[in-house]
Symmetry: T
Subunit: 69 residues, 12 copies
């Protein structure tokens, strides 16, 4: 039986629109260089403030991907 | 004076649309069998990745409801 | 070289619409009395439940602002 | 040799008198429907405030009970 | 629909009598200058020791109050 | 698209043999009454000591299972 | 100038009466063999359940005492 | 017997020299407006990086001060 | 009624064989000098790596034992 | 005097046999591409459930290795 | 508007002189192979002891750097 | 093969000069009575404030030492 190994890489996705968009942006960017990304886990949500509103959402998350044989 | 007791149940709501939608889906599903749900507390946000985008959002949360007399 | 000091204040923003809207509402409200808010850090997301749906989203967050000289 | 299994259920006991009374109230209430409760573990102590005094103590705790064969 | 904002302030209440009394003392003191306190959340319980007994109980807690419009 | 909801239940599995055996015992016992268990997450490992050796291993874990439609 | 060193020892005080009494019992017992105890920090509150009521309160705490020259 | 109440305020002290200097700078700045500061508790140490070296040390800490009667 | 006091001591057990063996080794060693050990709580599992395999398992754990009268 | 720098990489080792085997599998796999691995630190133990038994053990761990000059 | 993505890498910087020097050494080493490092976050401070003094300081920290387009 | 056991003892080192000096002072003091101390792990950094400056640095840390055969 196969026992695969996965690696976790930690990134910060950002967006000026929403928390979910920051998640999607980070995943899309990482997918350009990392293959086989299977899941994400959100660590922290923070962001910048400008003129009494959110300037950008910053979502720290870990991405899990399978190590190829 | 009345001193009510509450119970907490832990669920994972999912959605292919958004984090908030995953919260709403989980609450709606639990409300079919649990009465008197008063509040929710988000524990973890994670999800699957497919083709460089979010496949599904998975939100772990606790639901608090009043134990009936 | 200047070594500024920042203060952190903790608030709970609420919204009947979405998590992000709760963040924006809290920041907008705090900006009425606090100047120089630079960043926010989300602590906890919770909320009330009404009729099987989210009644209000409640987002606990810290706001960081520069102490003026 | 027997290897029993236990379950944990999470409740919030409340009291207008004291923290310990909130613990006792929650345990008493849960004991009406759950058999074999062996231990409790306090998670969080919080409460409401009314007129500059504690309105009610709210103690979140887990209750452990043995699963019957 | 109204979406109120709350603030959290952190205090340490003390008492030479009991943990609960330390909570009450801190809330009573804070209520002299802060209006609309709605809830408290206990963070840490510690204290001083004198002659083999508790000298004073010290309870760190957060107080939540509604920001007025 | 389907958006399933999962529930988490927390148990303590025990064994006089090993940590892994305690995990297996807890899962086997829970499977007698809960259907569709998909995953487990270990919380804490502890146990009793007798005569300078482990008396029993006690593994606290959460079990996740899909809520049926 | 003197720079004292302190040591921390961890104990579990118990009581069939109350949480505060468990703290006091543990401190009193430790004071029989440890000199110069200055402070305590509560870690966890748990206990046993008997017949739908608290059997005993168990308070895990650290005691700090000054190392003598 | 007197049972004083303390408040905690959270700040970020910064320095281009060292971690300890960031602590001292933050305390010095806060002391200009807050009286009776008794203690500090370091939360997080982070900072900026410039040209392969530390640009500034940023120390998040809580300051405790006695509430005057 | 008797209200016993327990002490906790923290150790690191090691083994070149397995995690469980590291737990047993640490308990056996501590039992040579400490009487009345009742329970253990695992804190962290780590170890050394040699030639692409585990060199030794290192299990940090707390041992609880009853303080004699 | 030499002051080496180490890097940490996070992986998930899996096994259908045991927790320790999942640790060994992950280390063996990582050792194929990373040199100088010195130690591992277990973060989380979880796994899948199939037919009332463990399907696979999944151990999240960090691996530390020395950065070469 | 641009929404950059950042990556986090975790390292251990060491020094036989001081905590701050360990931070600087780790950042300097990492900067030889990683471009655009913007910030660091200290995780843990530990070290070795030799002859009653610190042998080396070991600072675990995360480094954040912008992913280039 | 030898499988040594280590013990951890928790102390608070203090200094009116610096954080690192507090670490060194605590280790030096403990080394007068404890043999074979191998490593230290910093838990918390706090201290007293006097006249707008640090009065003393207080560093809580664990010391690990090998249990002799």
């Amino acid at each position: 039986m196969s026992n695969p190994t996965y690696r976790l890489t930690e990134i910060v996705g950002t967006s000026d629109k929403s928390t979910d968009d920051a998640i999607r942006n980070g995943i899309a960017k990482a997918s350009q260089t990392v293959r086989n990304i299977d899941w994400f886990e959100v660590g922290q949500v923070r962001g910048t403030v400008q003129d009494g509103d959110v300037g950008s959402f910053q979502v720290t998350m870990k991405l899990g991907f399978r190590v190829e044989d």
